[in-house]
C-alpha cells in the first residue's frame, strides 16, 4: 500500500536530494590530483591520488604465480590484458590479508600493473587545509607523499611513483 503522494518518504527524500544537486552551484572541482581514492590495506586506512590510477575494478580471479616475490599475487585479466597484481599491504611492509575478490587499482600508463587491497571508501575530495605534506619523504616506509586529515582521521597519501619503483625493484629481484 503506497502512502499518499504515490511515493514513500525515503523515495521522496532521495528525489529531493537528487534535484537539489542540480540546483546547487557546481563545486570547484579541480581536475586530477585533488581527488583521492580512500582505501584500506593491511588493516590501515590509506589514500591514493587519481593521477596515477588507470581504473578501479574488482578482481574476478587472480591466478597465483608460484616462486615469485612475496608481494606478487599473480596475474589477473583486466579489460582483455593480463595484468600483474601486487599486494599493496605487502609492498608497504604490512601483513597481507587474503581476500577472495580484492579490489584492484590498475596503474595508469601502458605498462600493465595493479595494486590489490582489501576495500575502498570511494573518492575523497579534500578541502583546503585537509592535506598536509610529509616532513620527511620517508613516511609510511617511504611511500607517502602527504597526509589527509579528514574528520579527525589520518590517512597517508601514497605516492604512485614510489610504489611503481618498489614494484620494479621487486620484479628485478624476481
Amino acid at each position: 500500500m503506497k502512502p499518499a503522494g504515490g511515493r514513500v518518504p525515503e523515495a521522496r527524500r532521495l528525489r529531493k536530494e537528487f534535484d537539489r544537486g542540480f540546483a546547487e552551484p557546481q563545486p570547484d572541482l579541480e581536475p586530477g590530483g585533488a581527488a583521492l581514492l580512500a582505501l584500506r590495506a593491511g588493516g590501515l586506512d590509506w589514500a591514493l591520488p587519481l593521477d596515477g590510477l588507470g581504473f578501479l575494478t574488482r578482481a574476478v580471479e587472480v591466478a597465483p604465480y608460484a616462486g615469485c616475490h612475496p608481494a606478487f599475487r599473480g596475474l589477473a585479466t583486466l579489460r582483455g590484458e593480463a595484468v600483474p597484481v601486487w599486494d599493496l599491504a605487502a609492498l608497504l611492509g604490512l601483513p597481507a590479508r587474503e581476500s577472495a575478490a580484492p579490489w584492484l587499482a590498475r596503474g595508469a600508463g601502458a605498462d600493465p600493473w595493479a595494486l590489490a587491497f582489501e576495500a575502498h571508501a570511494g573518492l575523497v575530495r579534500p578541502r583546503a587545509g585537509e592535506v598536509a605534506d610529509v616532513p620527511d619523504a620517508g613516511g609510511a616506509g617511504g611511500f607517502a607523499r602527504g597526509v589527509l586529515r579528514l574528520g579527525g582521521a589520518r590517512r597517508a597519501i601514497l605516492d604512485w611513483g614510489r610504489l611503481r619503483a618498489a614494484v620494479l625493484k621487486a620484479k628485478g629481484e624476481t
Binding site: 532521495l14 572541482l29 581536475p31 586530477g32 581514492l37 587519481l50 593521477d51 588507470g54 581504473f55 570511494g122
Partner: protein, 492 residues
C-alpha cells in the same frame, strides 16, 4: 524306695504294724499259755471226773451189794429194785469210764480188769434169785461169803489202783499247769515289758522322724507363707496398678470413642464432598473436552499463520535478493563513477564537466547504496522478525499441540480424578461404617474394661484375703514349729 523316702502315713502304719505285731505276739503267747492252762484244767477236770466216777462205781457196787444182802437176808423183793438201779448205775459208770479212758490205754486195761470183777460179783444175786425161784437150796453159803469178800477186795483194789493212777496223772497235770502258769506270767511280764519298750522305741523313732519331717514341712510352710505373702502383696500392687491402668484405658477408650464418632462425622462430610468433587470433576472433564476442541481450532489457525509466515519469509528473501541486486548495481555505479572521475581527471580541463556528472552519479550511487543498505537492514530485521515469528508460531503450534495433548491428559486426569473421587467416596462410606462398628466395639470394650476393672478390684480384695490367710498360715506354722520344738528334752 529307701526308708527316708517313706511318707508319714507309711511310717505311722509301719509303727502301728510293729506295735500290733508285738501285741499279737504277746497275745499269741498268752493265748497259747491259756490254751495249755485250759487243756490242763480240762484234763484235771477229766481226772477228777474219773475219780468221781470211780467213787460212784464203788458206791454203786457197794449199794448193789447192800441191797443184795438185804434181799438175801429178808427175801423182801423191795430190795431188788434199788439193787437193779445200783447195778445199772455201776454198768453206766463203767461205760462212762470206758469213754473217759479212751486216750489212756493203761486205765483202759485196768477198767477191762474191773468190769469182769464187778459183773461176777453182781452176778451172784442173779444166781441166788434163780435158786430161790427153783426152790433149790444152794450149797456152800460160807464159801460164797468169802468169795464175796475177795471179790469186793479185788474190786476195791482195782478201783483204788485206777484212782491212784488217775491221781498221779492229776498231780502231773497240776504241776504242768503250774509250770505253764509260771511260764505264762513270765512271758506276759517280760513280753509286756519288751512290747512296751519296743513300742516306746518305735514311738520315739516315729516322733523323731515326724518331728524332723514336720519341722522341715513347717519351715517350708513358713517359707511358702512368706512367699505367698510377698506374692499376695505383689498381686495386690499389680491389681492396684492394673486398676489404675484400666482407668487410664477406660479414659483413652472414651476419647477413642469420641474420636471415632468425629471420624464418622468427617467420613460423612468426606463422602458428601467426594460426591460434589465427582460432579465437579465431571464438569471439568466436559470443559476440558470443549477446550480441546477449541485448541484444535487454534492449532488449525496457527498452522495457517505459520504457512503465511513462511510464505512471507520466502517473499522477504526474494526482496532481499532484489536489494542485493540494487546494492550490487549501486556499487557498480559507484565504481563507474570513480572510473569516470579518473577518466575525467585524465581528460584534463575538458574533463571538468564530465567530472561533475561523474560526481553526481557517485553521489546518487552512494545514496542508492545507503538506501539499499537501509533496505537490506530493514529486510534483515523483517526476516529476523519473521524467523522469530515463525519460530514463535511454531513454538505456539507445538505449545498448542502440547496443550491439546495435555488437555487429553487433563481429560484423562479428570476421569481418573472422578474415578478416584468415587473410590474415595466408597472408602469414606466404608470408613464411616467401620468407624460406627468401631464405636460399637469400643462400647463393648468399655463394658469389658469395666468388668476387668471390677475383676481387678476383686483380685485386689482377694489378694488382701490371701495376704490375711498367709499371715494366719505363717502364725499357724510358727505355732506348730513352737509346739514341735517344745517337746521334752532328750528327744531327738
Amino acid at each position: 524306695m529307701s526308708a527316708s523316702g517313706w511318707t508319714v502315713g507309711r511310717r505311722l502304719l509301719l509303727a502301728f504294724a510293729a506295735a500290733a505285731a508285738t501285741l499279737l505276739a504277746l497275745a499269741g503267747l498268752g493265748y497259747g499259755g491259756l490254751r495249755r492252762l485250759i487243756d490242763n484244767d480240762r484234763w484235771v477236770e477229766h481226772s477228777e471226773k474219773i475219780r468221781r466216777d470211780l467213787s460212784a462205781e464203788w458206791a454203786s457196787v457197794t449199794e448193789a451189794v447192800a441191797q443184795e444182802r438185804g434181799y438175801l437176808v429178808t427175801g423182801d423183793p423191795g430190795y431188788l429194785g434199788p439193787y437193779a438201779a445200783a447195778a445199772a448205775k455201776a454198768r453206766s459208770t463203767e461205760d462212762d469210764l470206758g469213754r473217759l479212758f479212751a486216750d489212756n490205754p493203761g486205765q483202759e486195761g485196768r477198767l477191762a480188769a474191773l468190769e469182769p470183777l464187778v459183773a461176777r460179783r453182781l452176778g451172784r444175786l442173779a444166781l441166788e434169785l434163780a435158786a430161790r425161784r427153783g426152790r433149790a437150796p444152794r450149797a456152800g453159803r460160807a464159801a460164797d461169803a468169802r468169795d464175796d469178800e475177795r471179790a469186793m477186795d479185788d474190786i476195791r483194789t482195782a478201783i483204788a489202783g485206777m484212782d491212784a493212777a488217775e491221781l498221779g496223772l492229776l498231780r502231773e497235770r497240776s504241776a504242768a499247769a503250774e509250770a505253764s502258769s509260771r511260764a505264762e506270767r513270765t512271758v506276759i511280764a517280760w513280753g509286756g515289758l519288751a512290747g512296751i519298750a519296743l513300742i516306746g522305741l518305735i514311738g520315739a523313732l516315729i516322733a523323731a522322724s515326724l518331728t524332723r519331717r514336720v519341722g522341715s514341712s513347717v519351715g517350708r510352710i513358713q517359707s511358702s507363707a512368706q512367699e505367698l505373702r510377698a506374692a499376695a502383696n505383689q498381686q495386690a500392687s499389680a491389681a492396684r496398678e492394673q486398676a489404675a491402668s484400666l482407668g487410664e484405658i477406660s479414659t483413652t477408650i472414651g476419647e477413642l470413642l469420641v474420636t471415632s464418632r468425629q471420624i464418622a462425622g468427617s467420613a460423612q462430610r468426606v463422602a458428601r464432598i467426594a460426591a460434589e468433587a465427582s460432579a465437579a470433576a465431571d464438569g471439568g472433564g466436559r470443559t476440558v473436552e470443549r477446550c480441546r476442541d477449541s485448541m484444535a481450532a487454534i492449532r488449525a489457525q496457527v498452522d495457517a499463520v505459520v504457512a503465511h509466515m513462511l510464505e512471507l519469509g520466502r517473499k522477504s528473501q526474494r526482496i532481499g535478493g532484489v536489494a542485493e541486486i540494487i546494492t550490487e548495481l549501486s556499487e557498480q555505479t559507484n565504481i563507474l563513477s570513480i572510473n569516470a572521475a579518473v577518466e575525467a581527471a585524465g581528460a584534463g580541463e575538458h574533463g571538468r564537466r564530465f567530472a561533475a556528472v561523474a560526481e553526481e552519479i557517485r553521489k546518487l550511487a552512494d545514496r542508492v547504496g545507503a538506501s539499499t543498505r537501509e533496505v537490506r537492514s530493514l529486510i534483515e530485521e523483517v526476516r529476523s522478525a519473521l524467523n522469530a515469528a515463525v519460530v514463535a508460531t511454531e513454538g505456539g503450534s507445538k505449545a498448542v499441540e502440547t496443550g491439546t495433548s495435555q488437555f487429553s491428559e487433563v481429560a484423562g486426569a479428570f476421569h481418573g480424578i472422578a474415578a478416584l473421587v468415587g473410590t474415595s467416596r466408597e472408602a469414606a462410606r466404608e470408613i464411616e461404617l467401620s468407624t460406627q462398628q468401631q464405636a460399637t466395639a469400643v462400647d463393648q470394650v468399655t463394658v469389658a474394661v469395666a468388668g476387668v476393672a471390677q475383676a481387678s478390684r476383686e483380685g485386689e480384695s482377694g489378694s488382701a484375703q490371701i495376704l490375711q490367710t498367709a499371715g494366719e498360715l505363717s502364725a499357724l506354722a510358727s505355732e506348730l514349729a513352737r509346739v514341735i520344738r517344745s517337746r521334752p528334752a532328750g528327744e531327738a
